[in-house]
């Protein structure tokens, strides 16, 4: 079957790949672009491990048809750090022990980034709602919520 040419911005860099019909954005990012940060969890939209930002809004890469991001901007965890410097959210996750096995962490960080980009000073309830679509089976969520709140209050000063 014929492949389709696809071009989009990946963490600020233009990429061009050929995708097969029906392939999702997660497989495109992992297999064709080589960005392993978005994870495959359920493939059903239930776990949030594949959360990426498309034009600044949180989307599930596994439920996004690759062709629909033509000409759009896709941000993943791989683009969060600035060279050797971790993003304030990443540092807060480390300091608050918000990652154990780490499988949900890329999705959690992107969901949290989507929140803070739109709402730099969220309430605790707003943080809970922002990560409601992301499942973590290790931490019990409290350290994650605390990390996002800490990044929100102190992020810019330490960035």
């Amino acid at each position: 079957m014929a492949k389709t040419a696809l071009q989009f911005r990946h963490n600020g860099r233009d990429v061009a790949v050929f995708v097969e019909g029906g392939v999702n954005l997660l497989a495109t990012l992992r297999d064709l672009v080589g960005d392993m940060t978005p994870k495959f969890g359920c493939g059903q939209g239930g776990c949030g491990a594949c959360t990426v930002l498309i034009d600044g809004d949180a989307h599930l890469a596994c439920l996004t048809l690759a062709e629909t991001v033509e000409g759009r901007s896709v941000e993943t965890l791989d683009g969060l750090k600035d060279g050797p410097n971790l993003h304030p959210l990443q540092r807060a996750f480390m300091e608050h022990f918000a990652a154990q096995c780490g499988y949900c962490t890329p999705g959690m960080l992107m969901a949290a980034k989507a929140l803070l980009d739109h709402n730099p000073q969220p309430s605790r309830e707003e943080v809970v709602n922002a990560i409601a679509g992301n499942i973590c089976r290790c931490t019990g969520y409290e350290p994650i919520i605390n990390a996002v709140l800490a990044a929100a209050s102190g992020g810019r000063a330490r960035a």
């Binding site: 079957m1 019909g21 029906g22 059903q44 939209g45 959360t51 596994c62 929140l115 809970v128």
Partner: protein, 272 residues
């Protein structure tokens, strides 16, 4: 298995492609069709898309509102004019699902999903459908009853009357996982008042049958009555009539039948 993706500039061309190919599915936000593809659903051989801007239009200035089929739940939540639908849109998925899932797609969501359709059923909505021979408007009840036998049709928009008062439209979703999760039971009520009495009561239930259904016996118990203890008790007693819930991982059919009356009482009396 790779599928063929066909993208069209207009909804008319997309509808024509859907009607000419047997195994074609329309892709809206992706939360239903991409899930099916990820699970290896071989019944889908062609995916049809439309980039038509008309599909994402909102017409909400007057008392009758029209929402394009491609409008997302996040967009509904961003519109102050649609505040009466915010509890509905906000009860669906997490933020990423709400950024993707569409109003049109929700009409096809199998139980325990499809909460927006429950609200639209209570609000007496009309679904505009583009078929091979042009567009037609269908009452949502008729649409939902026949949604699995709709080959070659594309939903363009959904419209309903804005509820007259703040109390006229009520919504509750019972889920085990909060703030997101599939529905144990979803209830939406439209109770317009005239001279202190209910005129034109509509109660819609989600996860109580294969599609959202009206609780017609409960509606009859409320019609023309004052909303008081007696009429509420009569509606609650009739709540399960015409329903056919099933067992799933969230609740048994028995449990759903047991609790739907409890939650209908809370909906009608405004209890939390």
């Amino acid at each position: 298995m790779p599928v063929t993706v066909k993208t069209f500039a207009t909804s008319g061309e997309a509808a024509a492609a859907l009607s000419s190919e047997r195994d074609a599915r329309y892709l809206g936000g992706g939360t239903l069709v991409m899930r099916a593809l990820n699970e290896g659903d071989l019944s889908v051989s062609t995916v049809v898309r439309a980039t038509d801007r008309a599909l994402t239009q909102l017409d909400i200035a007057s008392s009758r509102i029209t929402i394009g089929a491609g409008v997302t739940f996040a967009r509904v939540l961003a519109e102050r004019e649609l505040a009466f639908l915010h509890p509905v849109a906000g009860s669906i998925g997490g933020p990423a699902v709400r950024n993707m899932g569409t109003i049109g797609g929700n009409l096809f969501a199998p139980m325990p999903f499809g909460d927006f359709a429950v609200a639209m059923l209570a609000l007496h909505a009309t679904v505009s459908v583009q078929g091979g021979y042009g567009a037609r408007d269908t009452p949502i009840e008729e649409f939902l009853a026949g949604r699995d036998r709709l080959p070659g049709a594309l939903v363009l928009s959904i419209s309903c009357q804005r509820p007259s008062g703040a109390d006229a439209f009520r919504y509750r979703k019972i889920a085990r996982i909060k703030p997101e999760g599939g529905s144990v039971v979803t209830l939406a009520g439209y109770l317009p008042m005239s001279g202190g009495r209910i005129v034109g009561a509509r109660i819609a239930l989600g996860a109580m049958a294969a599609t959202p259904v009206r609780a017609k016996a409960a509606e009859r118990a409320l019609e023309g009555r004052v909303l008081d203890a007696a009429s509420v008790a009569a509606a609650v007693a009739a709540a399960t009539e015409g329903t056919s819930p099933v067992n799933d991982s969230l609740a048994s059919a028995w449990y759903r039948r047991e609790v739907v009356g409890v939650h209908l009482r809370r909906l009608l009396t405004g209890q939390d």
